[in-house]
């Protein structure tokens, strides 16, 4: 048996669509490889895997991967995926989004998909910038980061997606970087085990736009900097979100969050925190609960008919 990495990956790609339109050195290709490997090692049937993507550089991924794929509209991938998962609960749904796609225009859909706990692996590729439209500020652009719409440095507070996911009801949240590909693959595999909304935030590089404007124009240097010089690239990734949650209302989803320790050691506090940030124990995906409910209703109806 041949197990060469690129051989495995190519089994899950559409060769007629490659090479990709992504710039040389873009982490998106690394992520695509990690997804292919994770699906492979989990032994999933390609016919039973769907990939839903939005608009942006990341959105192009669904075109390259040999699953059931939808390249949707900007920001709406979680909503399309919700429909698909509710119609086909047995299907593995991978929702792939960029940071602008997921958190900016798609913020509403992302939150409500997390709240409803729709069973999908949401992969959010976070490169701190809008790539396809030419390097504008995104919700994760760090303070002081230079972009084409913040040429003197952004002053906006970036989105803390982890904190938001924690309060919105996501079942699982992991963070990985394209610097550590083995861990990246492993985290996607972990996410595939989750019943419910599993979010994997992947810190990736846009050295061509964001890097060029912020003295990290080389792919390898930027990938290293994203991981090691987080203060400069994205300070919100320096620690896990400590929330000032004081609400104790019975319906609060933040109560049952069970935190796990990180997979990677985090001795060096200046590095990006990677690993599983939280996992909600006992989470069950909405489509499963919904069809269970339908089953009960039908059973009741049958019982009533038989009684008649």
């Amino acid at each position: 048996m041949k197990v060469q990495t690129s051989f495995i990956i190519k089994e899950y790609l559409r060769p007629e669509m490659l090479p990709s339109t992504w710039c040389g050195g873009c982490g998106l290709g690394i992520i695509m490889g990690a997804i292919a490997q994770a699906v492979h090692f989990k032994g999933l049937d390609k016919d039973n895997v769907a990939m839903v993507s939005g608009i942006g550089c990341t959105g192009r991924m669904s075109g390259y991967m040999d699953f059931n794929t939808i390249h949707t509209t900007h920001g709406r991938a979680p909503a399309f995926a919700t429909g698909l998962k509710m119609a086909r609960p047995e299907m593995t749904v991978l929702t792939v989004m960029g940071d602008g796609d997921a958190m900016s225009i798609g913020g509403n859909h992302l939150i409500h998909a997390m709240r409803r706990n729709i069973g999908m692996v949401a992969i959010v590729v976070n490169n701190s910038v809008y790539g396809l439209t030419g390097g504008q500020t995104s919700p994760t652009t760090p303070i002081g980061g230079h972009t084409t719409t913040a040429q003197s440095g952004s002053f906006e507070r970036p989105m803390n997606l982890e904190a938001l996911a924690r309060t919105a009801g996501a079942a699982f949240y992991a963070r990985a970087t394209v610097n550590h590909t083995a861990a990246l693959t492993k985290l996607i595999e972990r996410a595939l085990d989750v019943s419910g909304f599993a979010l994997v935030e992947i810190i990736s590089n846009c050295h061509v736009l964001f890097g060029k404007m912020n003295q990290m124009a080389e792919a390898s240097k930027m990938i290293a900097a994203m991981d090691e010089d987080t203060q400069r690239t994205n300070p919100t990734l320096l620690r896990r979100a400590d929330l000032p949650i004081r609400l104790t209302s019975p319906e609060s989803p933040s109560a049952p969050v069970h935190e796990l320790t990180e997979m990677e050691d985090v001795e060096d506090e200046s590095r990006t925190w990677r690993g599983v940030m939280f996992e909600r124990k006992g989470s069950v995906d909405l489509s499963k609960r919904y069809y269970d409910m339908l089953g009960k209703i039908h059973a009741q109806q049958r019982a009533a008919e038989e009684a008649n």
Partner: protein, 379 residues
């Protein structure tokens, strides 16, 4: 002294907005309009204005209505997919009569379509994109100079008629770089919304004037009033009274219909002896203009009307044209959105033909000329 400058269409739009007095911009990045945002993110702070990149186009459109209520001249820029999202709050701006300017740099649609390629497929969406009957003003620039001039005009019309104005640019003029002449600030005519000269208690924010609009003070000026997306009375309060509603409709339509002379803008080129005429607008008008020039060199009697105000449509000009030429040709980067309008107005008094493509490639002057030559062979 007027300044010659060299820039692309999107930059001219941004500079036109600054010159017109725009001091608030809210938008979301989208190709091929993003340069407008990028330039304004640098230029607005320099003139004391505010730039904000919103979370989506829905929010961008709402924010410019809010800032306009706060007394600022406001704009947003987008392309087809974003324009679709803006339709909800564009309708709000129409019914609540809030001046603002929406720049739509058209690309091939529907949906994500062809993001970097030119099209003129949003003509009908600009007219009817938001639901319900409504007045709207839509301008279409065909050069970098017009990108500047018509942006200034868009702000002026918005302020004068308290209405959203759409500048329907396209990926031909937005990316084209050419020379333009920017007039001295003192020579640029600027219209600002009028301010009430009555006491707050006597002020009617939505007075049902025939062919005119009420003054619009900014929030915080002491004229406290109500703004709603519901059909309203002259004081701005919601109503379901049919008699009031019919007066409101009369006001809404007459503010545009009674002022066509001030709004309509078109140019007649080489029409004196023309036998065939082109009706063109936006980036395609450039090919049409060149086709006219080539045709005249070859002795073909071709003329054209270049439309700068698409909505309201210059009906009388087209009606007159139908009496002067045998054939009218409408080249456009869609499948006949303006041609339909021309056919309706001409009503059979001249033959109407379209030259249409929406594959992202500009219609060439030769293509137009071929069609014109083809006509001549027909007896």
């Amino acid at each position: 002294m007027p300044t010659p400058a060299f820039m692309h269409g999107n930059q001219a739009v941004a500079e036109g907005a600054i010159a017109a007095g725009c001091r608030f911009y809210a938008g979301y990045p989208i190709t091929p309009s993003s340069e407008i945002a990028e330039i304004l993110s640098e230029r607005l702070p320099q003139v004391g204005g505010v730039f904000i990149q919103m979370e989506d186009e829905i929010a961008s459109m709402a924010a410019i209505v809010g800032a306009s209520l706060g007394g600022m001249k406001t704009a947003t820029a987008t392309s087809g997919p974003g324009f679709s999202l803006m339709q909800e709050n564009l309708g709000f701006a129409v019914i609540s009569e809030i001046p603002c300017v929406i720049i739509n740099v058209q690309r091939v649609g529907p949906s994500t379509g062809l993001p970097t390629r030119a099209a003129q497929g949003d003509v009908m969406q600009a007219r009817w994109g938001t639901h319900g009957d409504h007045p709207i003003i839509v301008l279409s620039p065909s050069s970098v100079q017009e990108c500047f001039d018509l942006t200034v005009r868009a702000f002026n019309l918005a302020e004068r008629f308290r209405t959203p104005v759409v500048l329907l640019s396209d990926a031909i003029v937005s990316t084209l770089r050419e020379k333009l002449v920017i007039p001295d600030a003192a020579d640029i005519a600027i219209i600002n919304r009028t301010q009430p000269n009555v006491a707050p208690d006597d002020y009617k924010p939505y007075e049902f004037l025939q062919g005119d609009v009420a003054p619009l003070p900014k929030f915080g000026d002491g004229y406290r009033f109500h703004v709603t997306g519901l059909v309203h009375t002259e004081l701005g309060y919601p109503t379901e009274d049919a008699e009031i509603i019919s007066r409101w409709w009369e006001h809404m339509s007459s503010k545009i219909e009674d002022n066509l002379d001030a709004i309509l803008d078109w140019e007649e080129i080489a029409l004196d002896d023309a036998e065939v005429a082109l009706v063109a607008y936006g980036g395609t008008a450039r090919s049409a203009l060149h086709a006219v020039s080539l045709a005249r060199e070859q002795g073909i009697k071709l003329g054209m009307i270049k439309i700068r105000t698409i909505w309201p449509f210059p009906e009388q000009a087209i009606r007159d044209l139908a009496g002067r030429v045998g054939t009218i040709i409408v080249p456009e980067l869609n499948f006949g959105q303006i041609r339909l309008e021309v056919e309706r107005i001409v009503a059979g008094r001249a033959a109407v033909r379209g030259i249409n493509r929406a594959d992202g490639i500009q219609i060439s002057p030769e293509h137009i000329l071929d069609v014109v030559r083809g006509l001549e062979r027909v007896p």
